[in-house]
Symmetry: C2
Subunit: 366 residues, 2 copies
């Protein structure tokens, strides 16, 4: 009998099981898309960094962690203002355990990581409250599409993750402008989800640009350009290029619903070959509603890695159970891929032990 | 019975046949390393561009050809001063026919191609006659090594090619400083090999730096830094990272002997998993001696794609039989990989027809 995977299914069980069956025992390539924006520097909007100014360092540091096993552009690892470590720790542990290769693709970062970096012609994003968030969207999508199509020829399937501070606010901007009711439904890396600050920021952008709820439903390129972030064109292009040939696991929380809305507007057929891979902390989150947003767009399956840090030896990890961080850097997708690749040999317990080992060594406790 | 491949073996027949057997029917990833240098702008040194100044555009244009099927940063395709088209035309035709994926990795280019580009922290090279050719060599090698190790997990083997004008002169610089007798033995894209100009350029660099023949035999990093080019650290790092796990076909002419010398100095064991893949125009070339240089370094096999343009409908292609261009952009390696992947279904005749079709359409004749 096949070993069960520690993966929860939160909707569309038939397609979810079929997707899991398709990737079981197969070899994935993990792509981490990164970008930075000025939106993340709005006070109180993101916990992806010790303070707002330092969010520019979080995506490069996260990607160094994945490729080097340690950060070079900052000491230690990225942490929240409360000292809780980046979810890249989960991603790194899962990818290393299952020997899954990584490519980091940039949509535009202010600080360059000390790693091989796939550049796609993007630059860092501006504050979406100006209504002028992202440049060069169409060109970056085209380049990412070419990269995705080429990577799809080398591997059984792709797992794509993201590291972009402030990403749920830009997701909200794209979702609302495209007519998806996501108010009060996007997730947060903070334990107290700052829904009001996010909606105020998006509304400022909509006003500045003379747009309103749903006015860009058929114009995803402008939805990104005005209210999105530079991770989006890279992520979207990669899926467009790859999912015609291989399955794609979109690793992330509520941000993935904005990517889904864009994909649906650009090429709805592609959605038959994708699933969202996230963490239990997202699907259990009472302050957000991933499934509720996704249901308005498509019936793509949502898979959640059943990781649980309740019994961790470390308070910094236990904090995840109080709703801090929750997801990011494709943590859920990487965990699912590690379990699927090894056909269940990697369990949630084995993964936790590896995460604790890496946490201990990276935080200089050992 | 297995279909024979249109591949010639020019040395070490046992290992060559074993290498060909290993890659037969297998799925490769093609990596095109690109860089530009001021060395290429020395008048009369390179034919990789209509004139010396335009050599900055040749590598980006070549890589656009591979990924987009057309150039964006220049009209048409790169040509020699005589109007003979870039060997990227061969590479592109081979890779497209055999559905082989491509990644372009930059060591430093002045003009950015309109494609996904893997950046490794390098910058364009200076004129080697100054003795200060390449910056950041060690760091670029480390980054490329990480990239190579990750790509090796996604594919059965790697084929690595290069596009760098002036590359045989910088190869000569590295070879002589490392004590390999390569004077009068490196190849040229020009029909009249400018051996004297090349050796004068290298000697100027050696004098400027107070080095001499063989003085850097055990210091390959400085050999590149002083007299090499920025393609080298990328190529070397990729091989170091990949060849521990999968075979690597080093696609190129006499430049590959400089890469081989560097690899031998850094990690000689790695050479057991590599072969050189080139064209018949290189192994038949009376003005250069690839085998003679390689024999001084290692007994890695040299494979040559048995392509022949004598019967082409186009004078621009027939010119290859007069010794113009000869090799570049991994043309030989890509042709061998296309033949091997399809187990001989792609023959030299099928390849020529595809090249002619692409030549016709890209040169606007049809």
């Amino acid at each position: 009998m096949k070993k069960p995977l520690d993966v929860l299914i939160s909707n569309n069980k038939v397609r979810a099981l079929s997707f899991l069956g398709d990737i079981r025992g197969k070899k994935p390539l993990f792509i981490c898309t990164i970008a930075t924006t000025e939106t993340a520097k709005i006070k109180g909007i993101s916990a992806a960094g010790e303070n707002p100014e330092i969010t520019d360092f979080t995506p490069p540091a996260d990607s160094e962690l994945l490729l080097l096993g340690k950060c070079k552009c900052i000491p230690g690892v990225p942490i929240t203002p409360d000292g809780i470590p980046t979810p890249a720790l989960i991603t790194m542990s899962a990818l290393q355990l299952a020997d899954i290769p990584v490519v980091v693709a940039s949509g535009g970062v202010r600080i360059k990581p000390h790693i091989p970096l796939l550049e796609l012609g993007g630059i860092p994003g501006k504050d979406i409250s100006t209504g002028k968030a992202v440049e060069n969207v169409d060109e970056v999508i085209q380049r990412a599409k070419i990269a995705g199509a080429n990577f799809a020829k080398t591997t059984d399937y792709l797992v794509i993750g993201e590291s972009i501070p402030g990403g749920t606010t830009t997701a909200l901007g794209v979702l609302l402008s495209m007519g998806i009711n996501a108010e009060g439904k996007v997730s947060s890396s903070l334990p107290q989800n700052p829904h009001k600050l996010k909606i105020d920021t998006v509304n400022a952008g909509l006003s500045a640009k003379g747009e309103c709820f749903g006015s860009l439903a058929k114009d995803p390129i402008n939805a990104i350009s005005f209210f999105g972030d530079p991770m989006m064109p890279v992520f979207v292009g990669m899926v467009l290029g790859a999912a015609e040939r291989v399955p794609v696991l979109m690793g992330g929380g509520t941000q993935m619903s904005s990517v889904l809305a864009i994909l649906k507007a650009l090429n709805p057929k592609i959605l038959s070959n994708v699933a969202i891979g996230t963490t239990r902390w997202i699907t259990d989150d009472p302050t957000s509603d991933l499934a509720g947003i996704v249901a308005q767009i498509s019936d793509v399956p949502i898979l959640a890695a059943d990781i649980n840090f309740s019994n961790s030896r470390f308070d910094g990890l236990k904090a995840y159970e109080r709703g801090i961080v929750k997801e990011g850097v494709g943590a859920g997708g990487a965990a699912i891929a590690a379990m699927a690749k090894t056909e269940g040999e990697i369990t949630k317990d084995i993964l936790l032990k590896e995460i604790e080992k890496n946490y201990e060594s990276l935080m200089g406790m050992k």
